[in-house]
Structure formats: structure tokens, C-alpha cells
Amino acid sequence: MAVTIKDFDVKEKMQWCPGCGNFGLITALKGALADLGKDQSEVVVVTGIGCSGKTSHYINTYGFESLHGRTLPVASAVKLANTDLTVIAEGGDGDGYGIGIQHFIHIMRRNYDLTYLVHNNEIYGLTTGQASPTSLLGMKTKTTPWGVIETPFNPILSAINGGATYVARGFAGEPAHLKELIKGAIEHKGFSLVDIFQPCVTFNKLNTYEWFRERVYKLEDMGHKPTDKKAALEKAEEDTKTDYKKCPIGLFYKEEKPTYEDLLPQIKGKPLVKHGLKIDLSKAYEEFM
């Protein structure tokens, strides 16, 4: 029996604010998994802490809600331990680009075959509205009462430069489009980032659905070629360069490269978790004699 999107639902109510971008986002994710015919038990959703972190509770797969910022190291190990699993890591902009940024920078160099979805609402949601690393210049928040004076972090630019092999941006207000991006990310062999504009209707009064709708356009509609790194880098800076008049969404960049796991002969063809535990140490002992 083929899986359907409903199989990924849970009985518990999803307790995000009415209108939260996370609803569109989780629908896109469930739809992507269903479309790809993923067996629920073969999927692990690893999240961090934040409103975004609840996703692992609201999707009926295996899940791990780790600590704030620690999504990626947990997800990385899940993949290394069992390469048969489909691993989705998810976190907020504070989670991934703030407290956990060292993991983000390094995972890109490693190119594990897993997908990272960032719920980028440009604010700290769960902790009630402090500035995040992606809050726009001038935005007033509880921790920037006179407006943000730090340059916002550009995840797309960093990801392309950092070695990520699938770099996309979606918009929770366009779940059908987002679903396709997530499907592409899951099917991509290597580390895929989908940074997602995810309006926080309660604490971010600047980057609202309307704000995004006026600004986003789809890269594929403009004939962007994701294999063209130079073009991708230009597009990555289009939002800041146009003072946010134009915010491209879609697939910026894609590259084929061996994954980290591909380079480990000890798990070629057989996931680590399936290896036997009986070990003969006699040869190892010889070195000490």
C-alpha cells in the first residue's frame, strides 16, 4: 500500500500560532515525503529547539528533537550510523545560523547525504521576539529596540561558498513550490539546504506574508541555471543588492560531488548499524607484543 500524505499526520494538534508559516512548511514536507513514497519508518526528522523544533513532534516518522543549535551533529551521526535512512534536519534561523553556526559551516564541507530545512522567520520565535542572525537592518525587536545594526547573515551565499551541493530557498506561503524544492533536496545525493521564508505572524511584523509576496519570484521562471555557480552567487545577493525589492526563491545551485559516506569503504554497501559486533582482536594484539 502506497503511503499518503495523511500517514505522516499525528493525532496531536499542531500548536503553532494561527497563520504561522510552519503550517505551510510541514505540509510541504509531508507532501514531499509522500510523493517520494518514503516509508515512515525509514525517515528520521531531527530538529533543534524553537517553534521550528516542534516539527519532529508533528510528523509521524522517527524523530529526534535535540538541543538548541545541535540539529546538524545529531542528524549527521544518524546518517553515518545508518545510510539507508532518509535524514531530514530542521531548525530555526537562530538555531542554525546563530547558536549552531559552527555545525552549519562544517557540514557543508562534508557533504553528507542529508537535507537541512531552515525555518527562517528572521526572528527568535519561541523566545518571544528577539533579533536573529537574519533579522534585517533596522528591524526593531526586543533586543534591538533602536533597530538592528548588524549585517544580516546570508545563508544562501554562505552555503554556495561553503561547499553545499544543493542550495535552495522556498517560501512557506507557496507550499506547492516548496514541496518540489524539498523533493529535489531529498533526492539530491549530498548535503542540501533549503532555507525557507517562514513568516512569524506574532513576532515579526516586518517580514509578513504580504511583504514576501510582493518580493519573491521564482528563479526557474527567469531561466536561472542552477549549475552556473557565478550566476548562483549573483542571485544569492540579489535581495540585499536590490534593497529587498527582489527576493528570489527556487534552486540557486546544484553540484554533483561524492558524499562523505561514499568515501568510507567500511560502510560501502552495508550500513554501519548492520555490521556484526563480533570482533577478533588477535591481529591487533600482535602489534603490542
Binding site: 495523511k6 500517514d7 499526520d9 499525528v10 493525532k11 496531536e12 516509508d39 515512515q40 519508518s41 525509514e42 528520521v44 531531527v46 529547539i49 516542534k54 519532529s56 513532534h57 509521524n60 516518522t61 522517527y62 524523530g63 529526534f64 528533537e65 535535540s66 538541543l67 545541535r70 551533529p73 545529531v74 542528524a75 549527521s76 551521526a77 544518524v78 553515518l80 550510523a81 545508518n82 539507508d84 535512512l85 559552527q102 555545525h103 559551516i105 562544517h106 568510507l264 569503504p265 567500511q266 560502510i267 554501519l272 548499524v273 555490521h275 559486533l277 570482533i279 582482536l281 591481529k283 591487533a284 594484539y285 603490542f288 607484543m289
Partner: protein, 600 residues
């Protein structure tokens, strides 16, 4: 027969390698060997020394004296000249001007023309240690053929030419010393049965591999790094995935993620790295994910003294993370315990779904010890892992955190149909879903805590060594077993009846088991390699027991057997009366970090 060598040189000259090879010559002859390195936290510039003790009757602690000093630079003569016993020998590089040192008259001195010997043997500078080892063996009239055998095995795969040259170098050193002086002793192999010479960290790694370790993630930090190095070297041979991570925060989360997925996984570090792991300790605790941490202590706090030893982190191991949850703290005391308790720690983590921490220290982890072989009788117990489950009704989760009598709940591995659940850092209900229900919160806390009762059943009482009805008892934990055992030996020689009560399982503690052993002790002297008596405090808190005397040493060196022997002898003379706390300082107050301080 007891014999002690010291090899001293400037940092970077390779005394560790020389020491290891020299040690192997004796384990091949059936001897017990201890190799103890001391070095400053410098790659070049400071002084390094390697002590090798050899005995036909067990040897477990470094001592302050040596019979043979191999001095490869002037600093070595300066630092160790007073350690050489009368009747001992100093073999030094002929380039060193020893005339400026006052050397004992009853000490033999041989100047080694190292460069000339190498040249004549057709050997290269890299083979200098072969000459040195040959020279050292000549001084005690030990068969050079054993060393030749070591060289053959060591360099065999590099080709016959290299082996030949090394042997020629070894012979040159050996023949030269023989031609210059009479041996100070004549030492012959005691047995054909070879022992192994293994580093503490290597034994931890080997034990873990035997115990089913499949994944190890770590960030380099002395003195834990050699676990990482060894596992990396072996990862393809034993199908292990070893990962150097961006930091210790990541390392611990990797280990937890891998355990969650179903492979036995561990991480390792020293105190500073463990500080970064504290948040994830709590994650493992609350999500009931097994994880094992090798915590190899060095002198703290902060960067402390990176390459010296201390037992200062067990309170930290015990309390790391916010909130209350069970963990198991284990401290092996010798090389065989490194092996078996490493494997056992993996079992405990899996069986009780808790963090287990194996506490070692620089002394135990970076020293070399002989062993006749490890106890491989290890039963891997994966606890309540489930891999086959009935189908779940739609949109429901498996009760991963089901309230059970022993507090341990079935744990499905990702990929298992019917086992869907979310592991979480939040308090949760039986399916893992977040909850703030008062009754469920209490029930989950109680569930996790109830494991302790069962875990305690698996934990043996502290071990007694020596006379059951001894006049006094030394109490120690972890690596301090080693000097304590050697001190016992000294007491025995003097026909004084003493014993040792040694703890390997530090937490949780079972009052009955502890008191069944310590309750009988007449006078008790506890030794700890820290400044506050951390474990004595734990014993007071958890089992309401206190030692009569607390002997502390926190200079960066382990206790030496002689120090324990002397201090306890003083106490005995005083009828076990006097100040409760004794603080020990090394007799030779030297530092290797700044030889410049001594005008060197």
C-alpha cells in the same frame, strides 16, 4: 629483579618511541613493564623523559630513582643525575660536557659517540634510537637478539635493508658500551611467553572495540587524543566510523545521534572538552539515549597543565548538566581494567539507556603497561533494543518511554516498522510527545531514577587487595590503584600487614556493598590525586563513610609508591594519630617546561 631506566631528551627527540621499544624488549622476555612519560605542553623546547620500570614480580608505579640513565642532551643530565642510584650508570651523548655536573662517584659513566657509531654502522640519523637502546641493553647485559627481533618485526615491511641497518646500529651501541664498561647487572629473559605492552588509551580503545563500538566522534585534546588516533588507525580493519568533529559539542551530539540510530557509539575528551559536552549529557539523560564518554583527566581547571595528571574531574562527571538524572561513573585502575571496563561501560549505557562515563587520567592513559592478555570474556548486552514490532495503528507512535518497573523501556531503532517515536530533550509522555502534566513529569523522573536500583545490582563491591585483616587500609580509586599496590608490596617486604580497597565503580554507590568492605578496616588512609578529596566527599555523601586520613597530591604527578609508603609509615609510627589531611609534594621539584630557568 627490579630495574629502572630513564631516557631524557629535548622535546621532539622521540623518547616516547625509544621508551616503547625498550619496554618491548622486556615484555618479550616475560617481564612486567611500566612506561611512564613526562613531557611539557610543548612540541619543541622543553624536556621530555620516559621512565621504564622492569620487574619479574609486577610493577605498577613510577619511582624517584633509576638504575640506567640514557641522557640524550645536557638537560637530561641536569634533571636526572640525582635520580641515578649508586651502582647505576649514565650513558650520555659524547657531545655533552658533563664536567660541569657533580655526579656520584659510584655511578658508571659512558660517553656514547653516537654520530660516529651511526656512520660506522652505515645507519642514518633516524636510527639513533637503535644505537641508544642497544647501549642501554648492554649496560644490563640483556640479550641483544631480543631487540633484533623487535626491529625485525617493526621494520620488516620496510624492507630487509632497513632492518639490517637498524640491527647494525643496535649492535654498534651494544658493542660500544660492552667494550667500555662492565654491565651493572646481568638480566636474562624470565619466560618465553611474551607479554603485551599497551598504552592505557589503547586498552580503552581495544576494550571498546571488543565491546562492540562502531562509532567514535571526538575533538583532539590531550591526554584523550590517542584513543582517537588508535581508533582512526583501526577504523577500516574493524568497520568502525571515526569522526573528528568541529568541537566537543558536536562530538557528543554525534555520539548520541549514532547511539539513537542503533550503533554503539562513544566520545572522548579531557575536562575542557567535557565542559562543552555538558549540555548533551542532559540530552542523553532526558532522551534516555545511551552514550559513553571517555573522560581522560589532566590538571585543571581551565587549560591547567595539559600534559600532567590529576583526578580532579569526578565531581564534574557526576554533576555535569542541569537537572537530576542517573549516570554511571567508572574509573579503571590498571591496564586490564581499562579494557574490560571500557566494554562494560558500553553495556551499562545500552542496558540502562543512560550516559556512562569512563574516567581515566593522563597517568593511566598515556603510560604503557605490560599485560599477559585481556579478559575477552565480554558479553555484549544491548538491553531492550527492539527490532521487530507489530504494526502501529495509523497516526500513532510507539510507547518508547513506557513506564516500566525497572525504568528501562523498549527502544526501537530507526528503520524498524511499528516503532515510530520521537526522542526528545523535552519532558515527555510515554510516546515521547512533549508534556507538562504534573503527574507525567513526576512519573518520568521516577522512571528514570528507578534504574539506579537495578544498575546497583550489576555493580560489584570495591575490591580488596592484600591481607583481609590488615592493620591499616589504603583506599583509592582509578589509577591510584597502581602506586598503592606497589606501596603494599613495600609494606609486605617489611612484614607489615596492609591492604588496599580500590573503587572502579564510583557512581552510583551501594552503601551495603561499600560498608561490607570498608566497615572492617581498622585505620583508613584515602589517597586522591586532587586537592579537595572529591571521592572522599562522595563517599561521605552517598554512603556515609569517611576515611581517617586523607592524603592528597595535586602537583601534576601521580602519587609515587615511595610517597605513600613513607607517609603511611609516619602515620603508623604516630599510632595513627595526627592531622587528618596530608598534602604531598614531590621530592624533586623540577619543571620541564622552562629549562632556561636552570640556565640550560
Amino acid at each position: 629483579m627490579k630495574l629502572t631506566f630513564r631516557i631524557g631528551a629535548q622535546a621532539g627527540a622521540g623518547v616516547m618511541v625509544t621508551g616503547r621499544v625498550l619496554g618491548r624488549c622486556f615484555t618479550r622476555g616475560g617481564y612486567s613493564v611500566l612506561g611512564y612519560p613526562e613531557y611539557p605542553s610543548l612540541v619543541r623546547g622543553g624536556h621530555n623523559v620516559f621512565q621504564i620500570r622492569v620487574s619479574d614480580n609486577g610493577v605498577s608505579s613510577p619511582i624517584t630513582k633509576c638504575d640506567v640513565l640514557l641522557a640524550l642532551n645536557k638537560d637530561a643530565v641536569f634533571y636526572h643525575k640525582d635520580a641515578v642510584v649508586d651502582g647505576g650508570i649514565i650513558i650520555y651523548d659524547e657531545k655533552i660536557d658533563i664536567s660541569e655536573f657533580k655526579l656520584g662517584k659510584k655511578i658508571e659513566k659512558v660517553a656514547l659517540p653516537l654520530e660516529k657509531l651511526l656512520k660506522d654502522a652505515g645507519a642514518t640519523q633516524r636510527m639513533a634510537n637503535a644505537v641508544q637502546i642497544g647501549a642501554a641493553l648492554a649496560a644490563i647485559d640483556y640479550p641483544i637478539e631480543i631487540f633484533e627481533g623487535v626491529l625485525k618485526d617493526e621494520f620488516g615491511r620496510k624492507g630487509e635493508e632497513i632492518v639490517k641497518k637498524n640491527i647494525a646500529a643496535a649492535r654498534a651501541g651494544y658493542d660500544f658500551v660492552k667494550s667500555k664498561t662492565k654491565p651493572i647487572k646481568s638480566v636474562k629473559p624470565v619466560s618465553k611467553k611474551r607479554k603485551m605492552l599497551v598504552g592505557g588509551n589503547e586498552a580503552l580503545a581495544l576494550g571498546a572495540i571488543k565491546g562492540g563500538l562502531k562509532f567514535y566522534a571526538a575533538y583532539p585534546m590531550t591526554p584523550a587524543s590517542s584513543i582517537l588516533h588508535y581508533l582512526f588507525a583501526k577504523e577500516r580493519e574493524f568497520n568502525i566510523v571515526v569522526k573528528q568533529t568541529e568541537d566537543e559539542i558536536a562530538a557528543m551530539h554525534y555520539a548520541i545521534g549514532a547511539n539513537y540510530t542503533g550503533v554503539r557509539a562513544a566520545t572522548g575528551t579531557s575536562g575542557g572538552g567535557f565542559a562543552l559536552m555538558t549540555e548533551a549529557m542532559g540530552l542523553a539523560g532526558l532522551s534516555e539515549t545511551p552514550v559513553t564518554v571517555f573522560l581522560v583527566q589532566r590538571v585543571g581547571p581551565s587549560t591547567g597543565i595539559p600534559t600532567w595528571t590529576e583526578q580532579g574531574d569526578i565531581r564534574f562527571a557526576l554533576h555535569a548538566s542541569q537537572g537530576d538524572f542517573l549516570r554511571c561513573v567508572i574509573a579503571p585502575g590498571d591496564i586490564n581494567e581499562c579494557f574490560s571496563l571500557s566494554a562494560e561501560a558500553l553495556n551499562i549505557a545500552d542496558k540502562y539507556q543512560i550516559p556512562s562515563i569512563v574516567v581515566s587520567d593522563k597517568f593511566l592513559s598515556e603510560s604503557l603497561f605490560s599485560t599477559e592478555g585481556f579478559d575477552e570474556n565480554i558479553k555484549i548486552d544491548r538491553g531492550k533494543i527492539v527490532t521487530k514490532l507489530p504494526k502501529l495503528p495509523p497516526n500513532t507512535r510507539f510507547e518508547r518511554y513506557k513506564l516500566t518497573k525497572d525504568g528501562v523501556s523498549p527502544r526501537p531503532l530507526p528503520g524498524t516498522p511499528g516503532g515510530l517515536y520521537v526522542a526528545t530533550s523535552y519532558e515527555h509522555d510515554e510516546t515521547g510527545f512533549s508534556t507538562e502534566s504534573f503527574s507525567m513529569r513526576k512519573a518520568q523522573v521516577d522512571k528514570r531514577a528507578s534504574k539506579q536500583e537495578y544498575l546497583l545490582k550489576d555493580i560489584p563491591a570495591p575490591k580488596v587487595y592484600g591481607d583481609k585483616n590488615a592493620e591499616f587500609t589504603i583506599v583509592a580509586w582509578g589509577s591510584m590503584k597502581l602506586p598503592a599496590l606497589e606501596a603494599l608490596h613495600r609494606f609486605k617486604q617489611d612484614k607489615i600487614s596492609a591492604n588496599l580497597v580500590h573503587f572502579t565503580y564510583l557512581y552510583p554507590l551501594d552503601e551495603k556493598k561499600v560498608k561490607s568492605v570498608l566497615g572492617k578496616a581498622k585505620h583508613t588512609i584515602m589517597i586522591e590525586n586532587n586537592s579537595t578529596g572529591q571521592f572522599a566527599g562522595m563517599l561521605k555523601q552517598y554512603v556515609n563513610w569517611e576515611p581517617d586520613f586523607l592524603m592528597l597530591k595535586y602537583t601534576g604527578r601521580p602519587f609515587y609508591a615511595e610517597e605513600i609508603f613513607e607517609e603511611v609509615s609516619k602515620l603508623k609510627k604516630a599510632g595513627f594519630k595526627g592531622k587528618k589531611e596530608i598534602r604531598v609534594l614531590d621530592k624533586e621539584d623540577l619543571e620541564y617546561y622552562n629549562p632556561q630557568r636552570y640556565g640550560l
